[in-house]
Amino acid sequence: MSQPSLNELKKVNVFQKASDDDLEFILQNSLVRSIEENSFFFLQGDEAAYLYILLSGRVKITQSNTNGQQVSLRIVYPWQIFGALGAATHKVAVYPASSQTLENSAALAIESSFFRTLMESRPYLAFGMMNLMTGYIQEIQERYRELALERVEQRVASTLIRLAGQSGVKSEKEAGIELIFSRQDVAELTGATLYTISRLLSDWERKGIIQSGRERICILKPHELTLIASNSN
């Protein structure tokens, strides 16, 4: 995959106020990495030498414990930044999570030290990164509240709704909202077991709220799902 154009780069929130000269400079100091489905841009514990901008595909950011159990922190879509920790600290940082591709993907890799130097003289970049980090914190706070206070079916419903908002596609064939995620993905995103997810989704399928297949879930009754998420049914 070739390098993105300047106009394409402006789809990245942090670069919306960037001058063409700055974007050219960034492109000159970056490289495109293309990898296959189920591969990693970086692993948890690797030195955070690069930050990435996803150009195509989808990536899940996952964290594992010493037993190898895994939780998904978030899903990255094209024109979003990930792995930015190295650019935000002067110390040698390591990635706290891994980035695994959910499909064949390409990303622009920018050296963390280069980006950090650039941020020191460009306030718009520093503010953009601060916005990005604030967004992460808000999302994690929301997930933490769900984990601490909500029943598992509420969490799963909230997660499906969030995923639909981020990447759902209206399916004309089934008059629903199509998501390309497996039951395992949903389990990792909600902190529930695969058994629980299968039981819940089968139950919702019987009630006609969703329809699921291999690596796909179609939301047929969105309002029913919002009622489950808000626990008002």
Partner: protein, 67 residues
Amino acid sequence: MEDPKEFSQQTVSEFLEYAPQASKAFLELGMACISCHLARFCTLEEVRKAYKLDEKTFFEAISKYLS
């Protein structure tokens, strides 16, 4: 004055982009559509039915905010 039923097949997002002032109607009717991640998928007709509102109540509430 526009006939609010003309918007029934628009999604909530499309409609609120056209008439942001009408978001108050959703609040008055106790509908959670404004901050919902699914607003770009659901049409006004679908959410009216989902909240079991009759046409008169729903479209009259909306029409108050259409100039």
